[in-house]
């Protein structure tokens, strides 16, 4: 697998039974790359370990006064030098490739899993976990998978050097063979407290960043009403806490660095001491002494990989566990576990929409408005009308809404979503250009322009053209910031409405689509909305008289049941409960009106 071939056409079906199993699965999926990395790593580390051999020959030749030996040393250095350079380059290339392919695979798996989970994610604690896996864990997982090959190469090299030394000069070999494991393991006990302190520092830093960005996000409030100094003081505290935590963490890492210098150094002292002694006895040559010294000095490099793999594992284990948990999530509702959302070619059901729980009926092709005093109740009703509503455990089962007599919850999810589109109270504008925003699966009957006109988005287009980075300011190519934060609440609502109109589903359920829109604009939208949805089933949950006046059929829901049906004007004059809800009369006003009506009647 090469980087240029990414992304994978199919990232595979991961083993999510446990964290270590997931890591193992990832490694197995890119076994070829792992072996390549191991091979190049061996070339690299062994070449480095062999360099002292050339140094020794050179010193020996010089001592013996032979210029021929010097030439041999030059040849040896050249060969191993090229080995080091080629090995280093290829080890780096294969390691990075392994890291990237592992990371890309996990990101792709996450993207596929979240797309399947959809609405089910927002109800679960899992939402935060998915984000944590994607932003932080993927790197650590990729690191461990990749480092494993490098570590293996380093470990083999260390063993080989010890063995070679042992064959070459058994006594020195023993000193090094005993010393090396001590070196490899010495800093391990220091790593857990060091990583704990590093975590603590990250936590503090995260808190400080949060405070800063929160202060900036609310800066208009602060500038408008005061309190800058209060918030600056608070931030200074947090910032200084980060500093203290960072220094505290650095103290530990400084200690580790010192140990990493001291211990190999002591081994070196031992080797030299013993080596000089042997050289004096004439058992080894001076050149060999230099070789051994130099080899032990260079051994520090592969030894660092022992610490790295220990750290990589301790970091990646919880990450892999979390990733396995997230990737193992499944939807709970029946008929929704198809792994390719939207791909099914099921027949889209049609007919009247009926909710048995409230008795609400929305006839096919009719623009129905629903008035419901309680916004939470309205939200649940809208969700039910869409079928496959995400349910918390322990919720009492509610009968499914019926479309053309078929229970939506029983039908395949893809077919239901194709038939009914529910726009909830808080529709999210996905970031991208306006053109991308309106590029949703649709019937193709309503163009983006028509939808934008129907939702009265003229001023939004103007604002986008102004914010455009390009001089010509084409609003459809202007990026809308995440969740449309640069737009006002009313503008966001109208864009979301335009998007739903473009989708042009057979049944459209809108929950308070214009609650943040001013009355002038709302009254214009009300008329255009009905035209845009002509011949299609539309259900609007609202309490705005301007929208209600535009509906063909208005249903009042009181408590849990539909209690009145008619047009806006009929209900307004005929039903006091309806009047109270939609005109927002206070009790006092209502009494006054009733009194007046009575007087008029008597008169």
């Amino acid at each position: 697998m090469q980087i240029r071939d990414l992304p994978y056409t199919d990232p595979g079906e991961p083993d999510t039974r446990s964290g270590p199993r997931f890591l193992f699965w990832l490694g197995r999926m890119q076994l070829g790359g792992q072996f390549k990395s191991l091979g190049w790593g061996l070339l690299h580390f062994l070449s480095i370990a062999a360099l002292p051999y050339g140094v020794g020959i050179a010193v020996e030749a010089v001592v013996a006064g032979e210029s021929g030996g010097l030439a041999v040393a030059g040849g040896v250095l050249a060969v191993f030098g090229i080995g080091v350079a080629v090995g280093d380059l290829m080890l780096h290339r294969t390691s990075v490739t392994n890291w990237i392919t592992a990371a890309a695979r996990v990101q792709q798996l996450l993207a596929r899993r979240t797309a399947v989970l959809g609405a089910a994610l927002t109800r679960r604690v899992a939402a935060g976990e998915v984000v944590a896996v994607s932003t932080g864990d993927v790197e650590k997982i990729g690191w461990f998978v990749e480092a494993l090959s490098r570590f293996t190469a380093a470990a083999v090299t260390v063993l080989a050097v010890c063995a070679a030394l042992f064959v070459y000069q058994p006594a020195l070999g023993v000193v090094v063979a005993v010393g090396v494991p001590v070196l490899a393991l010495a800093v391990l006990p220091l790593l857990p407290p060091a990583t704990r302190r590093a975590d603590h520092q990250r936590e503090k830093a995260g808190r400080a960043t949060e405070l800063a960005s929160d202060t900036v996000a609310g800066l208009r409030v602060l500038r408008g009403i005061g309190g800058e100094q209060l918030f600056l003081g608070r931030y200074r505290d947090a910032s200084q806490q980060v500093r203290h935590a960072a220094v505290r963490s650095a103290r530990m890492w400084a200690l580790i660095s010192a140990v990493q210098v001291l211990l190999p150094g002591l081994l070196l002292v031992g080797v030299v001491w013993y080596g000089v002694h042997l050289a004096q006895l004439g058992r080894i040559t001076v050149g060999e002494l230099v070789t051994v010294y130099s080899a032990v000095m260079l051994l520090a490099y592969p030894l660092r990989h022992f610490e790295e793999i220990a750290m990589a594992y301790s970091f990646s284990r919880p990450s892999a566990q979390r990733a396995a948990r997230v990737l193992g999530l499944r939807r709970q509702d029946a008929g929704a576990d198809g792994d390719t959302p939207g791909a099914t070619q099921d027949v889209v059901p049609r007919g009247d929409l009926y909710d048995p729980a409230t008795g609400l009926l929305a006839p096919e092709g009719v623009f129905t408005a629903v008035v419901c005093g309680d916004p939470d109740l309205a939200g649940r009703l809208a969700e039910r009308l869409g079928g496959h509503a995400p349910r918390d455990e322990g919720d009492a089962p509610v009968p499914s809404a019926l479309l053309g007599g078929a229970a939506l919850d029983e039908l395949p999810l893809a077919a239901v979503r194709a038939a009914v589109l529910v726009q909830d109270k808080d529709p999210v504008l996905l970031s991208g250009t306006l053109a991308e925003l309106l590029d949703v699966p649709s019937s193709g009957r309503v163009s983006g322009e028509e939808a934008l006109t129907a939702a009265y988005c003229g001023d939004v287009l103007e604002a986008l053209a102004q914010a455009s980075a390009e001089p010509d300011g084409d609003p459809t190519r202007t990026r809308i910031t995440e969740r449309g934060r640069s737009l006002s609440g009313g503008q966001r609502q109208r864009l979301a409405l335009a998007r739903s109109l473009v989708a042009d589903p057979p049944v459209l359920v809108l929950d308070e689509p214009t609650s943040a829109v001013d009355a002038h604009t709302e009254s214009r939208i009300a008329g255009r909305l009905r035209t845009a949805r002509a011949g299609r089933t539309t259900v609007v949950l609202t309490s705005s008289p301007l929208l209600l006046d535009g509906a063909e059929r208005v249903v009042l829901i009181d408590g849990d049941a539909a209690v009145a049906v008619g047009t806006h004007q009929e209900l307004l004059h005929g039903d006091p409960r309806y009047r109270a809800v939609v005109t927002r009369e206070t009790d006092a006003e209502q009494e006054a009106r009733e009194d007046r009506d009575e007087i008029e009647e008597k008169a």
């Binding site: 360099l51 990101q107 993207a111 609405a119 800058e228 002694h277 909830d424 699966p441 009355a519």
Partner: protein, 593 residues
């Protein structure tokens, strides 16, 4: 094909116009000089400690060299014990000072970093409200998060490490020169090739790494959005598109990974070969010198070992140099905020009375395009004025002018005879407050969230303010009362509660004039109705300009101004406008039936 062009798509390219200034090179240099001055002592200390560590590290090669010299000369009484004790002592000194170097480096980096981020926030909160309103907070937000993070990486590691690496290299070269003066120039043989390749690499690397990082962040943010918008994604059947988007982001990101890997594929072999070349030249040329009797074998051994030690510091310098370049860009963005002049305002501009007057006011955001035209308006103290009209007609802009955030292009806008736009922001807000639909709840305690309006307020006053907006009920029910942590990541307040907190702040700030810009529009109708009742109590006796999207707000006002296409087209009390039978009357009838 040899070589790789950078990918065409650059995820780090700005997607919207940068709205705040970015500092020029001169400003950045001056700022760095200022930082260096502030931290001179710590920096010198770091360099000194580092020098001691490096000098101690050369004891090993030096002692081994002298031993080799003596053993090869066949000396019988080598002072082995003394030499080994010296070696051990040097090692302990080296280890101790390495510890100090790491610690001092971190302390210096952290101090500089703390200075930087605190400076930046100080500057940010001094920005004039007009600049904030125009630029939005997005640009500022990305500076305080992304740029501060990038600088943190650079300052925490790059600056100390580079200082360490450069000193290290110089001292090793110095040690080499002292050991074998004739051999030292040999090290420079490999230098030209290394410098050439480094130049090539560092011209491309910083921008490429920035794009690579942005590309990787885009992978995660696409997924975060899919999660965040789970419901929307499912209902609009966007699942396959989101998967395709993630795949596209991955291919954009890995394109940059591939490019930077290519850059390193050029750099790395040159660096490794340089090391080997240096070692081989020292050994071969030095060996030749020894054979000629110009230097001793001990000197050669020491020189060879020292040149082997060059690998580490050279690696450090190469590793961190590009971070420094990236950091420079971020620093320019942070320092750029300093270039916005804080608006001092004219402290002599003091209002007498509370009457608000607009006299033939014109205003536009862009030259040549006026959003407001010929606006003339008088609002007597205690009046409730409602602004109604279609979206984009200029209601919000008029509200901001009335709150002193922008000054009119022509015409006069005064509060009690004093020009609002010329008054300092601190003076304006003691008279006028603007409340919009953005009711930000700050991360922190409920107390801090309220106290920002009046920093010297005691708990009792805070409770009174909450009671005034009907919020003491849920407030008292909180387990930790005013100490309860609210805001993102802690207790999330409902939109209605957030709005009540915003209103309680107003009670505490106590301005005599209020501009409400669709303050309740994000609330559901039931919450809005409840809130308007508490609002009425807060507004009692104050001058109120309400930008209303619900007609009943207009109905209750003393005066209604219909704003259409930048002009005030209808002005008068409710009954008068209804009787006049204009646009407002038509709307009212369809609304009220």
């Amino acid at each position: 094909m040899i070589g790789l062009a950078p990918p065409a798509y650059d995820p780090a390219a700005p997607t919207e116009a940068t709205k705040l200034p970015v500092a020029g090179t001169a400003t950045v240099r001056a700022y760095i000089a200022d930082l260096a001055r502030r931290h001179r002592k710590a920096f010198l200390l770091l360099v000194t400690v580092n020098a001691v560590a490096v000098i101690a590290s050369m004891a090993g090669p030096y002692l081994l060299g002298s031993l080799v010299e003596e053993v090869s000369a066949g000396a019988e009484d080598v002072p082995l014990v003394r030499t080994m004790l010296l070696f051990t002592a040097a090692l302990v000194v080296q280890a101790f000072f390495i510890h100090r170097v790491r610690l001092r480096g971190a302390m210096l980096g952290e101090e500089v970093l703390a200075d930087l981020r605190e400076d930046f926030l100080v500057r940010s909160v001094e920005l004039p409200p007009g600049v904030l309103e125009r630029a939005g907070t997005g640009d500022l937000l990305s500076r305080i998060t992304t740029d501060v993070d990038r600088l943190a990486d650079a300052l925490r590691e790059a600056v100390p490490q580079l200082a360490i690496g450069v000193v290290w290299i110089l001292l090793l070269l110095g040690g080499l020169t002292v050991t074998a003066p004739t051999l030292a120039p040999v090290v420079l043989i490999a230098l030209p090739a290394l410098l050439l390749v480094c130049r090539w690499y560092f011209r491309r690397a910083p921008a490429a790494y920035r794009s690579e990082a942005a590309g990787y962040a885009a992978v995660a943010s696409a997924l975060t959005e899919t999660v965040d918008a789970g419901r929307t994604v499912e209902s609009l059947r966007l699942g396959p598109e989101r998967v395709a988007l993630s795949d596209r982001r991955i291919s954009e990101w890995t394109g940059w990974e591939r490019y930077t890997l290519w850059l390193r594929s050029v750099l790395f072999p040159v660096v490794s070969l340089t090391h080997v070349l240096v070692l081989a030249s020292v050994l071969l040329i030095g060996g030749f010198y020894v054979l000629q009797g110009w230097i001793g074998v001990g000197q050669l051994t020491t020189a060879a070992l020292i040149s082997q030690m060059l690998v580490d510091p050279v690696g450090i310098v190469l590793r961190w140099y590009d971070e420094l370049q990236v950091a420079q860009v971020s620093l320019a963005r942070l320092v750029g905020v300093r270039e916005v002049e804080p608006e001092a305002g004219d402290a002599d501009e003091r209002p007498e009375g509370r009457a608000v007057r607009a006299d033939d006011v014109h205003f536009g955001y862009r030259p040549g395009v006026d959003v407001l035209r010929q606006v003339t308006l008088a609002v007597e103290p205690g009046t409730r004025l409602a602004l109604v009209g279609p979206s984009g007609a200029g209601k919000s802009t008029l509200g901001r002018l009335l709150a002193g955030i922008y000054g009119p292009r022509t015409g006069r806008l005064t509060l009690g005879g004093a020009e609002l736009a010329r008054m300092p922001a601190e003076e304006v807000r003691s008279h006028v407050a603007l409340v919009n639909q953005e009711h930000h709840v700050f991360v922190g305690s409920l107390r801090d969230n309220l106290r920002l309006a009046r920093t010297d307020a005691g708990d009792e006053e805070l409770w009174e303010a909450l009671a005034a907006v009907d919020a003491d009920g849920w407030g008292r029910a909180l387990e930790e009362g005013l100490d309860t942590e609210v805001g993102s990541g802690a207790l999330a307040l409902t939109p209605a509660q957030a709005q009540q907190v915003a209103l309680a702040r107003l009670v505490l700030a106590d301005p005599h004039t209020l501009v409400l810009d669709e303050a309740t529009s994000l609330l559901d109708p039931r919450a809005a109705r409840h809130l308007e009742r508490s609002l009425a109590r807060v507004l009692e006796g104050r001058t109120v300009v309400a930008i209303a999207h619900r007609l009943h707000t207009a109905h209750d006002a003393d005066l209604i101004a219909v704003v259409e296409d930048g002009r005030i087209t209808e002005l008068g009390p409710h009954d008068q406008l209804v009787a006049a039978g204009g646009a407002y009357a038509a709307l009212w009838r369809s609304w009220h039936g």
